[in-house]
Symmetry: C2
Subunit: 534 residues, 2 copies
């Protein structure tokens, strides 16, 4: 325990400082202060020792020199045991507590300050005090965050004006993290001023996961320290601990729904949406999404972009007497849950129920870590650059469906193809997809096979199933994330009944591809925008 | 230009400091120094002003207090114009240059120092001087890296003992990056001492890419500052600028070959190996890898784990008169190239030729950035935990093939299946693969279809092709990255002629799956180790 008898207070952010200083004063602690902080404290009636009377120096050079001195440095740094005599001989009295936060460089940067103004906002004395106090945490406590005042006041009250070593150690770590953040922002900002990009990232609040992507890999989930909104902040309402793969799948789910405009539902398996639908009603969106791949939907991650209602989750039939009717999924994630929906979902004890709003996910940058290197890019937030009909047949594509199809294909791993349609009820539905293939033709084949299967599932048994399939395929639009290198994709799509294709265009063989579409009576639209995703 | 008339030198790393100080002395610069640095300089016959004669304070508290003082702080920080009178009144003479690097905290950490020893290695005075000098870069130069001495000496010689503003600005950015790195390492190390994981990453040397994953995304490639070996350090020997997607594909290629033991070749398309082979001869490995997906291999990334020979690259037939024979790929990447091989590859002017050794890629950690969060895990470097035969039929799997098959399936995006065989010539070959599918059955189907296609390609036209296929499929081993949830995968594999399956096991329905294998006369080995990769 270290009794706090002498404190040095010098803060930029003056939140809570009066109450905190007043409490220190009440316990008989001497308060040393500087410049603006001193004025605020004295105006509040707190007795303050001016820094100059400790250092013997004036506050000089427009405030650039205040605390930086042999006297303050020594008072913070000397070893209370080993150096006691030397300190005494030099007339150095210990300082037991430093309360300091730094010149608001981040705010200056956020306000677009120019280089000279940025430079003025670089604190020199502050980090020195903070770091010196932190180094000597065995004897000194250092507080950099006004959020810590209440707990500290409690601790001081409980310990008769002293702070424990455990707390000092915690505060010390916080202090070095604070100065590390501060200089990280300064360094990247000044690099930016020089026209050079540098990237510094800091993560903490690590949660140890049961394991990583596989059981033999250790895994952690961390929060980015300076993120205002983080995927980390999801709220787990129910169920087993989330796994590494759950995180990856949920992220893909939320990305899929990020900019959907109506009720939407995504069904994710291995980080790809195998089901996706949007429309006026949440329950129906779930039904149509589920129908996109009713086999893979079991054990999937289901995500919504709106508060989940009881009427929606009824779909899972978790209370069905016939257990084979119960639709088990790994996770349901949504911006919120009606209480009755939550109660119902909790019938499944292993189901993870997670609260998170995908609309909060508007990442500016997408990062891929390679060994010792970083790929850093804008996130793909767009859909199309143009909608140019390139064939004789001029298809009319519902604008909502065009938007939906592009957002769906954008979220699938390349090479990606998907087929979407507007259902009779007016819902956009992913009817089939193929993804992650070296050869685009395979993705198209996978998509068409899935469409066929799903339409057969949907067929009511009346009339000719093939006629039903062809009729529905003719209303289905095929999307490709990148251009068709050869006409073969058009051929197999046409053979399966597809009449409309949307693709970016841009192949050397576009003419051949368009020619084939014209020959077969397929309408084709070029968007001018590729959506690779790996 | 700032003439360097007075320099403060205080360095932990004394590399080159004598020559640098001697040169400063020769140009008439006064040198102020402290402790160990002073001794080294004086021993070399350089005249030094002791720090105490400037500060008026002793070097105190076992060296904790040396430079930290009103005098040094002021000499570094005061505004040479605005504050000139005040400085003069206070008896402060300017210091124009700070040469300082910090207590070797990283070395102490690397040597496993305990907490008190780590704390002793935290420099307080050093960062204060460095940051103060950097802040006042308009008037002061700061050098933190002995590597900068030669250029600075040249500049001093050229400018009559002065340093330009441009250089001072560059040095200032370097200084703040230095202190940011220093406190980042301190913060994460002390968090580690508290048993908490925190992660700080810094990247610079950004290369602007033509664009990101797609043309509407801005993209950069950066180097991790503290990486000893980095994927960034690849050497581009020839060809067009590398793109974002090239980087991703090459990385996947190098990961595929990282721990192959013989000559190996990978063919990558959309970040998955669609061809992979290993064996005694590089050329043959290429041929077998290419044959894994001879359609997708066009425009792929081809990677080797050994120096590329002329005999190997001949395969691409880049000089074939019949242009249709020329095999164009995007990139060839290898640890080295024989001069004749390089000459030959350069026949293709757009081909990127890249030198990099995949064996240098032994990443300890794999990181995935989600929005505001980080997934941080061990890289999947292992293959199997056990090799347990679970069926009545006890297949003998060549140990080399087992290793190869597991490394291949480990590198494919999940759900992943692959089929590998040992060719008559003794090469391990990826005969077919299926990856990135929500439903494992689709991956198996893709694999089997590819195997069939490749065997038909390999068939010499004599006898019954189906017999040839069945004969070869019986020698081919099917690998799954995760357990089979149902027996259906076994059924379709068997129907295609597969007689041996390797999978981790661990499904609730393992019994059913094994039962089906026994019923069909398929041998099955459980490895106990899943290899999901997303």
């Amino acid at each position: 325990m270290i009794a706090i008898k002498r404190a040095l207070i010098s803060v930029s952010d003056k939140t809570g400082i009066i109450d905190f200083a007043a409490a220190l004063e009440r316990q008989g602690c001497e308060i040393i202060s500087t410049g603006g902080t001193r004025k605020v404290l004295e105006d509040a009636g707190i007795r303050v020792t001016g820094i100059s009377s400790v250092t013997g120096n004036p506050e000089a050079f427009g405030g650039r020199m205040k605390t930086l001195s042999f006297q303050i440095g020594s008072a913070l740094l000397f070893d209370r045991e080993k150096d006691a005599e030397e300190a005494s001989a030099l007339g150095i009295a210990p300082i037991d507590l430093v309360v300091c936060n730094l010149y608001p460089f981040a705010e200056a940067r956020a306000q677009g300050a120019d280089l000279p103004a940025l430079i003025e906002h670089i604190d020199i004395g502050g980090p020195t005090m903070v770091r010196a106090a932190a180094k000597n945490y065995t004897y000194v406590a250092v507080v950099v965050d006004p959020g810590d005042y209440p707990d500290l006041l409690n601790e001081l009250a409980e310990n008769g004006g002293a702070i424990s070593k455990e707390t000092r150690f915690r505060l010390m770590r916080k202090a070095f993290n604070h100065t590390a953040d501060y200089d990280a922002l300064i360094a990247t900002t000044l690099d930016g001023q020089a026209g050079e990009l540098s990237v510094r990232l800091a993560f903490d609040r690590a949660k140890k996961l049961r394991y990583g992507e596989n059981a033999h890999q250790e895994g952690y989930f961390l929060r980015q320290r300076d993120a205002a909104r983080s995927y980390y902040d999801m709220n787990v309402l129910h169920g087993k601990e989330l796994s590494y793969n759950n995180m990856v799948d949920m992220y893909a789910a939320l990305e899929s729904l990020r900019d959907m405009r109506t009720h939407a539902c995504a069904v994710i398996k291995h980080a790809n949406p195998c089901g996706l639908s949007s429309g006026d009603d949440q329950r129906k969106a779930l039904e149509y999404a589920w129908a996109g791949d009713p086999v893979s939907a079991y054990g999937s991650v289901i995500a919504f972009n709106s508060t989940v209602t009881r009427g929606t989750v009824d779909f899972f039939e978790l209370d069905a007497e016939d257990k084979s009717r119960r639709k088990f999924v790994e996770i349901v994630v949504a911006p919120g849950f009606a209480p009755e929906a939550l109660d119902y979902l909790q019938l499944h004890k292993n189901l993870r129920i997670v609260e998170f709003d995908p609309r909060l996910l508007t990442p500016a940058r997408d990062m891929k870590f390679l060994h010792g290197a970083l790929l850093y890019q804008d996130t793909d937030m767009e859909t199309w650059e143009k909608t140019e009909c390139v064939t004789a047949l001029r298809p009319k594509i519902d604008p909502e469906l065009l938007d939906f199809g592009l957002k769906a294909v954008r979220q699938l791993k390349s090479n990606a193809i998907c087929a979407v349609r507007k259902t009779a009820a007016g819902y956009c539905q992913l009817l089939g997809m193929g993804c992650g293939q070296p050869n685009r033709l395979n993705s198209t084949e996978l998509t068409l096979a899935r469409c066929r299967e799903n339409l057969l599932n949907a067929w009511d048994g009346a009339g000719d199933p093939e006629a039903y399939i062809r009729e529905n395929m003719a209303e289905t639009v095929l999307f490709s994330d990148a251009f068709f290198p050869f006409p073969d994709n058009v051929e197999i799509a046409h053979a399966a009944g597809i009449r409309t294709i949307v693709q970016p265009g841009g192949s050397l063989r576009d003419k051949l591809v368009i020619g084939k579409a014209d020959e077969l009576g397929v309408g084709m639209v070029f968007t001018g925008m590729r959506h690779f995703k790996h």
